[in-house]
């Protein structure tokens, strides 16, 4: 019983002691070369076959030709942020600054303002995320008490010609929606925006 | 044998003349001959307990008055009878107000108080009028006022009508209310006997307690004490209500068997009904099952049985009564009457009401009975005044003694909403 309950502690393995022939390196180098050469020759063979139109279907490499083809993203993958809306269209965010506080990259900047509705009280006057600084840790999503900030847009290829262009403001963040809810038309629009 | 209720059946007993024909105002004359301390000693010997519910010996309370305090002393009669199931003070004030006044006079003489307030429940309009008329009569007869029975002992009795708050039956909130403040209980110590009305020494006694004082004087302390059981002197008015053939107020010696009260004095249950539960001492006392009712009705025996005598308002529940619904009614009452001052009572009573209302309306959840009991236990002992306990004890009693009643509701609720329960359990 006692042995079953013992916790296995992984002990750091010592540096492997090399035999003489291994210490000579030469044979180990040849062994390594054998492996790479094996791959080289085999792949070259298939490449040549393909070049001449034979055996086109053989999967030569696991390479995905991005951006023409994309890997399907996991649903919980952290992608570009968005701000969710309430049922009536107003932002869910109440500018509690949790995300700004927890953000390890200091990429979120929120300015709060009051709203007349006593049930909401507070809203973000501005909400900027500097994607250029973001480390995509997802802490902001974890910290959000209102489920307002989400990282489910499925957008990963974010680029801009200026630093300022990497700063997403509240309108842009609110204009995005979840990858799972997106219609084909919206996908097209998104594509256009990304290519701008 | 009848003491306080002796004149209840006499027509026009509330009138001074009728009262005096039946022995009224004889004891005060005797008392005025005695030294105040002797009276207090007699009352202590009589084992006269506070009959408002707490059961604190009245004589000892009186002896707590500080001797060297130069401030005036006050006697306050607690006529704010709000405990559900209790209606004894009403009978005294309706049928024998002069007995109460006589008791006030003796007590005032004993504790050297020159002002007495009768804080009467706001709903007792008729009784307030009777009392005021009685006071006027007594005054006119020279029994009250500047000279009490010719002695140089001025005594004013003031009837103060409450605004209908149950909490004002608690002595310190009664005093607050009397002072014109919010009826919030005060922190103790200081006790009213030291700092009460307007920070002066004040004795607060129940109508019934004060009404027994003349009888203590008439019978003598020891004889009075021998009427009841050990350490529970004298007799008591039992208000019997609920599912009995003859509900009403019965004056019986302290220590009368509860079973006898229900089945002999109150006429027993209706035909074909089965006894389900008995609440022995007003709604705030823990409930008794039919197996437990064979016990003497006095303060100590009921405390030993895990309940309390309280105001001796016996509520009899038979098998036609749904106990969960009954408990919900009680919870609603206490939540409504909680003053809101201290946290456990304010939030706890409201929470219990919410749970019970929901159980009754849409069935319960499996966590509800345990949660109710937990909330109630967290209130007990932690609130400023006993209202928290009053609200919690019935819940604990019902939940512990009648789990099957709750199980029915829980089963109903769980089948209706399985998914939300699962969520609730996760939360």
């Amino acid at each position: 019983m006692a042995t079953q309950n013992t916790i296995r502690v992984s002990v750091r393995r010592r540096a492997a002691t090399l035999s003489f022939w291994e210490q000579v390196y030469l044979f180990e180098v040849i062994r390594g070369l054998w492996i790479t050469t094996h791959h080289f020759v085999l792949n070259l063979y298939y490449h040549i076959l393909k070049l001449f139109g034979i055996r086109k279907t053989h999967p030569l490499t696991p390479t995905i030709q991005y951006p023409e083809e994309c890997r399907p993203l996991a649903l919980r993958l952290r992608t570009l942020h968005r701000l969710a809306r309430r049922d009536d269209g107003r932002p869910r965010c109440v500018a509690c600054m949790m995300c700004e506080t927890v953000c390890p990259a200091l990429c979120i900047q929120i300015v709060a303002a009051a709203v007349d509705d006593p049930n909401i009280e507070k809203r973000p006057k501005s909400f900027d995320i500097d994607i250029g600084k973001c480390v995509f840790c997802g802490f902001c999503v974890e910290a959000c008490p209102e489920d307002a900030i989400r990282m489910d847009t499925g957008i990963l290829d974010i680029a801009s010609y200026s630093r300022g262009g990497m700063v997403l403001d509240i309108d842009r963040l609110l204009s995005l929606n979840a990858a799972t809810e997106r219609t084909d038309k919206e996908v097209d629009q998104l594509q256009k925006w990304l290519l701008q | 044998m009848k003491l306080v209720s002796k004149n209840f059946d006499v027509p026009d007993s509330h009138k001074l003349a009728v009262c005096e024909q039946n022995g009224g105002y004889t004891r005060i004359r005797k008392a005025l001959e005695m030294e105040p301390q002797t009276i207090i000693d007699e009352v202590i010997a009589a084992n006269l307990r506070g009959l408002g519910g707490a059961g604190f010996p009245a004589g000892r309370k009186w002896s707590f008055l500080p001797k060297d305090n130069p401030k005036p002393r006050y006697l306050v009669v607690n006529a704010d009878e709000g405990e559900p199931g209790t209606c004894k003070d009403k009978y005294i004030m309706t049928n024998d107000p002069h007995l109460l006044l006589e008791g006030i006079m003796i007590a005032s003489w004993a504790i050297n108080s020159h002002t007495c307030f009768i804080y009467i429940r706001g709903e007792y309009v008729k009784q307030a009028k009777i009392l005021e008329a009685a006071i006027a009569e007594a005054k006119a007869a020279g029994y009250l006022g500047d000279k009490m029975f010719g002695k140089d002992f001025p005594l004013e009795v003031v009837v103060h009508r409450g605004a209908g708050a149950y909490i004002c039956g608690e002595e310190t909130s009664l005093l607050n209310s009397l002072e014109g403040k919010r009826g919030w209980p005060r922190l103790k110590p200081p006790f009213p006997a030291v700092e009460g009305y307007l920070a002066c020494p004040t004795i607060v006694n129940n109508v019934e307690t004060i009404s027994y004082v003349p009888w203590v004087i008439e019978l003598g302390g020891e004889k009075f004490a021998s009427l009841g059981s050990e350490r529970n002197g004298g007799m008591r008015l039992y208000s019997v209500s609920g599912c009995v053939k003859k509900p009403g107020v019965y004056e019986l010696p302290l220590g009368t068997n509860l079973k006898d009260i229900i089945f002999e004095h109150a006429g027993g249950l209706f035909e074909g009904r089965r006894l389900k539960a008995v609440i022995p001492g007003g709604s705030s006392s823990p409930v008794l099952t039919p197996d437990e009712i064979d016990l003497p009705m006095d303060f100590d025996s009921l405390a030993a049985a895990g309940s309390m005598l309280g105001s001796a308002g016996i509520i009899v529940l038979d098998d036609t009564i749904n106990l969960v619904e009954a408990l919900a009614v009680l919870a609603r009452f206490y939540a409504h009457e909680s003053c809101g001052q201290c946290t456990p009572c304010r939030e706890g009573t409201g929470w219990m009401r919410k749970i019970l209302d929901r159980i009754v309306a849409e069935g319960g959840r499996s966590v509800d009975p345990a949660n109710l009991e937990r909330i109630a236990k967290n209130i007990i002992g932690n609130s400023i005044c006993p209202l928290g306990e009053a609200a919690s004890l019935p819940v604990i009693g019902f939940a512990a003694k009648f789990p099957e009643e709750f199980a029915e509701y829980v089963a109903r609720g769980e089948t209706a909403k399985p998914s939300t329960t699962a969520v609730a359990a996760v939360i």
Binding site: V29, G32, I35, T36, T37, F40, T61 | -
Partner: protein
């Protein structure tokens, strides 16, 4: 030889020492990407395209060159701008010049004139090669020093330390070969490898005479090219090398020098240990196989065959070095020096001694 012929051949040979290594280096730059991709189950450069096709990734090389030429040529604030400018040129110059003494064939006979397939048949060819590769270090040192940057200077010192360490080993190893062949002329060394051993079955190549010498030479040669696993001097982005302050085509020249040196080391290795342009059993007049049969060939055809053999051998060694580069991880610097001084140097000395003893015997 007629003057026309003389000048024509001279110009042709000069063009050769420019075109052959540079072309091969260009191909190597391509192979660097493609070969590694194929080895690693990838596809490699395939995005840049002309007429809708990537042309096996060659378009990338062109684009790279265009990029190199059009990038901003950043020159640091240094008092040695001149040296800074010419440093990559020095490195490249000496690397290319060494090809002058490497024979790429025996001789061609055109219009009755015999043309030696070697730019300059120096009788001290081997020393010439060493002199030039040693001088190539100046390119790096000057580049690092004139950059006016501590990191570049450190990188340059690191590079020179490494290269000097391994040059010693190369030099001593080659002494073994010189003892074995008894000549300093590279053409003569190649010619000496034209005979056969074991009743004509086995070509008498340097590797058979100097197996240990070959290993030592090849290892030290890779170190000389500053490529993985000995790429400490450049250490591209990780440890910062002498070329830190270089950009655009000057940086490109340094990069290219590596490839040219790769070709050079391959060529020298082939010359010393794999019979240079020799093809087994191929003589001036044709093949003469050990089992007795012969196949007569026109001498010029034979010479061309031999030139092809040389190129083929060089390409093979380039491929081998590339394969090593994509197989092995980088040494730590202390390991580099350790290997150079504690292992290669004693071994090469032992090799000389043993070779000398055997030769005496």
């Amino acid at each position: 030889m007629s003057p026309v012929m003389y000048w024509t051949t001279t110009v042709a040979k000069s063009v050769y020492i420019l075109v052959f290594p540079l072309t091969l280096a260009f191909v190597l730059a391509w192979a660097e990407r493609k070969q590694s991709a194929v080895m690693q189950d990838r596809i490699g450069a395939n995005r840049a395209s002309v007429f809708g096709r990537p042309w096996l990734g060659f378009v990338h090389m062109v684009c790279d060159a265009m990029k190199m030429f059009t990038k901003e040529d950043f020159v640091p604030e240094t008092e040695h701008r001149f040296l800074h400018h010419i440093a990559p040129g020095i490195a490249m110059f000496f690397a290319l010049l060494a090809f002058a003494v490497i024979p790429f064939g025996n001789q061609l006979t055109i219009a009755g004139e015999t043309i030696g397939l070697q730019v300059a048949d120096l009788n001290v060819g081997i020393l010439f090669v060493f002199a030039l590769t040693s001088l190539g270090v100046y390119g790096l040192v000057l580049g690092g020093w004139s950059s006016n940057n501590n990191y570049a200077l450190l990188g340059a010192i690191r590079a020179s330390a490494q290269m000097i360490s391994y040059e010693i080993c190369i030099g001593i190893t080659v002494i073994g070969a010189i003892i074995a062949f008894g000549t300093l002329s590279l053409q003569e060394i190649v010619l000496a490898q034209g005979t056969h051993l074991l009743a004509g079955w086995l070509p008498r190549w340097g590797i058979l005479l100097q197996p240990l010498g070959f290993l030592l030479f090849f290892v030290a040669g890779i170190a000389e090219t500053k490529r993985v696993p000995f790429d400490m001097p450049e250490g591209e982005s990780e440890i910062i090398g002498f070329n830190l302050e270089y950009s655009s085509m000057k940086f490109g020249l340094f990069l290219f020098t590596d490839f040219v040196e790769t070709v050079l080391i391959a060529a020298v290795t082939v010359t010393f240990f794999f019979g240079g342009w020799q093809v087994p059993w191929l003589y001036e007049t044709g093949f003469a196989f050990p089992w007795g049969s012969t196949w007569a060939i026109h001498p010029n055809i034979a010479a061309l065959l031999q030139m092809g053999a040389f190129v083929g051998k060089v390409v093979f060694f380039c491929w081998l070095m590339m394969a090593i580069r994509w197989t092995l991880p980088r040494f730590r610097y202390d390991q580099v020096m350790d290997l150079g001084w504690k292992w290669l140097l004693p071994l090469s000395l032992a090799n000389v001694v043993v070779t000398a003893l055997i030769t005496l015997w």
